[in-house]
């Protein structure tokens, strides 16, 4: 039988999109193989035509598109495209499957009143006990947000860095792994952090009591995109697979298993504690990555020098 190779983020994410893949395999007479790859290695595999479908985030999606790695999605096959929120229509070369919400996780015993704004992270009262991750997509969004709040934009990032540098001074540790942040909360070393909603739910399950606040400026959007790799033999099947990811069942799984907001409109998510709806998706902070990507090398260097370095 034919084989479709899908690069996904791995772990629970792959488990979730795999959940109903048996029916897809049966219907199309194909076996789907998942490999854990994303970012640089994902794109590398795509460029090397080793995979049929890859997952990416905004930055890599733009890079892949720019390097011509992807096939145009064919709306005739990917029929579910029409059911998506407009924000999910990344480009002709890819589509967002799901969103996540970055907000502020906090220890309700230590932080009161509950945070309401991203700027609460800057509250000197909690200096040394707040944290965020390194130079990741969400922090780039935060950086851009700060720039915008202070009169800048993607094209004028200086005010953003100035603000982030202030935050940097109040941070003892930049976390790099979710379990690490969990331990930081558990040990009381951190009382407030920029974190992902799904992870906060997970942390509660691990016995750490946390509050999650969606700042008034809006939650920062986590975006997962999917793309069909160019010049692979089973292009049509790959499109079908993308369509499968956008199907009602799959989309529900993103919510139920991963705590992500589906990209598809009009789902019935009763019983699933996930923010959903036009307004939720609409209010997500998602910057203009087309402008960001070319500047990332420079920004990264600045981040290290201005935010991380003391």
């Amino acid at each position: 039988t034919k084989e479709l190779v899908v690069a996904a983020f791995g772990g629970a994410y792959t488990d979730a999109i795999k959940k109903n893949v048996a029916t897809f395999e049966k219907e199309n007479g194909v076996t789907v193989t998942f490999v854990p790859a994303s970012g640089a290695d994902g794109l590398a595999k795509a460029m090397a035509r080793e995979v049929d479908v890859i997952h990416a985030d905004m930055a890599w999606a733009y890079r892949g598109e720019a390097q011509g790695a992807f096939e145009k999605l064919d709306p005739a096959i990917v029929t579910n495209l029409s059911t998506l929120y407009p924000k999910a229509r990344f480009s002709d070369y890819g589509v967002v499957t799901n969103f996540g919400q970055y907000g502020i996780a906090y220890n309700p015993k230590e932080v009161s009143p509950a945070p309401t704004s991203w700027l609460d992270l800057w509250d000197p009262q909690y200096a040394g006990a707040v944290t965020t991750a390194g130079f990741d997509a969400a922090n780039i969004e935060l950086l851009v947000l700060m720039a915008k709040l202070n009169g800048g934009s993607e094209d004028n990032i200086d005010p953003g860095f100035a603000k982030m540098a202030e935050l940097g001074k109040q941070i003892t540790v930049f976390y790099s792994q979710h379990p690490q942040l969990l331990d930081l909360f558990r040990n009381g070393e951190v009382v407030m952090a920029r974190w992902l909603r799904g992870r906060v739910d997970w942390a509660r399950k691990q016995g750490v009591e946390l509050g999650f606040a969606v700042p008034k400026e809006g939650a920062i959007g986590l975006v997962s995109t999917v793309h069909v790799v160019k010049d692979r033999p089973n292009k049509e099947l790959a499109m079908k697979f993308v369509n499968y990811l956008l199907s009602e069942t799959s989309q529900k799984t993103y919510a139920s298993d991963l705590g992500y907001t589906p990209a598809r409109a009009g789902l019935d998510l009763t019983g699933i504690d996930v923010p959903y709806g036009e307004d939720v998706v609409g209010s997500l902070l998602i910057a203009d990555w087309k402008k960001i990507v070319p500047q990332m090398d420079a920004w990264k260097e600045r981040w290290e020098k201005e935010v991380v370095a003391r």
Binding site: A12, V35, D41, A44, E50, Q177, K205
Partner: protein, 265 residues
């Protein structure tokens, strides 16, 4: 030799301290693996449930299998080549000795990810990706300094007349190597085999670019997994690995021997 009580006590304390330092993280892992709730130390209960979940993760089992196979191939080839190179370097006396030694050590000092990326691009240009052998070769390249260095070190104190004795009873240099030199180098060869195996077994940076879909290794799976989850399952799996490695090492010991012959006195 007589030993004083004080000396012996200090000796045992030293041994204890050394192993506590080395093994403390593992002890934590093993303890946590029985924790029903979360990756928290000290554990708040006892369960074996997490060991059961290992079986529910076919991806991990498959990856463990791939990693094992890859590790074995890497270990055998790398140690084999490395030992030969170390012996060759000892004998070789030409002008290239310095450069070759440096070359054999160089992979240690450049971030493997860069080499892997570059290698990936070269292989891509030559159209020979998707090949287990390129993956093995890349693993061999990044691990080869270990056997070379270890064996070279032991060779420096090697009694040359033992090899000569073999030649004098009619052994060809190859036979002398097999029957005398290699067995006597066991104290560095066996550790080299194990080290190259675990280095390959744990390698992420090379595999991430060079592993094809059929050779998704455990570190790749685990790293992806750790992005989302961190449950005692990880500890349970690590504990299983520890146990498996003990079993394996005992087997190795029984068959080829890890310990060493001691000279009298």
């Amino acid at each position: 030799m007589h030993k004083t009580i004080l000396g012996t006590t200090l000796w045992y304390l030293g041994t204890l301290a050394f192993y506590v330092f080395l093994l403390a993280p593992l002890a934590i892992l093993v303890a946590v693996s029985f924790n029903p709730v979360a990756m928290v130390f000290p554990p708040q209960g006892f369960t074996l449930a997490w060991y059961g979940t290992i079986l529910e993760k076919p991806d991990f089992l498959h990856a463990a299998f791939a990693s094992t196979l890859l590790g074995v191939m890497t270990a055998v080839i790398c140690t084999g080549f490395g030992v030969l190179a170390a012996i060759g370097l000892r004998r070789y006396d030409g002008p290239l000795k310095g450069p070759i030694t440096s070359l054999l050590m160089a992979p240690l000092f450049i971030p493997a990810v860069i080499v892997a990326l570059a290698l990936f691009q070269i292989l891509f240009m030559m159209g020979i990706l998707n090949n287990i052998w390129t993956l093995v070769a890349a693993h061999v390249v990044v691990t080869i300094p270990y056997p070379v260095r270890n064996v070279m070190a032991q060779l420096e104190g090697f009694e040359g007349s033992l090899e000569e004795a073999a030649l004098s009873v009619g052994a060809t240099p190859r036979q002398a190597l097999l029957r005398v030199t290699l067995p006597l180098l066991k104290a560095s060869i066996i550790p080299s085999l194990i080290i190259t195996f675990v280095l390959s077994w744990n390698n992420y940076t090379v595999s991430v670019f060079l592993a094809s879909k059929d050779w998704v290794t455990l570190p790749l799976q685990l790293r992806a997994y750790l992005q989302y989850e961190y449950q005692p399952f990880v500890a349970a799996m690590s504990t299983m690995l520890i146990i498996a490695s003990v079993v394996l090492l005992v087997l190795v010991d029984r068959t080829v021997g890890l310990g060493a012959m001691r000279k009298r006195g």
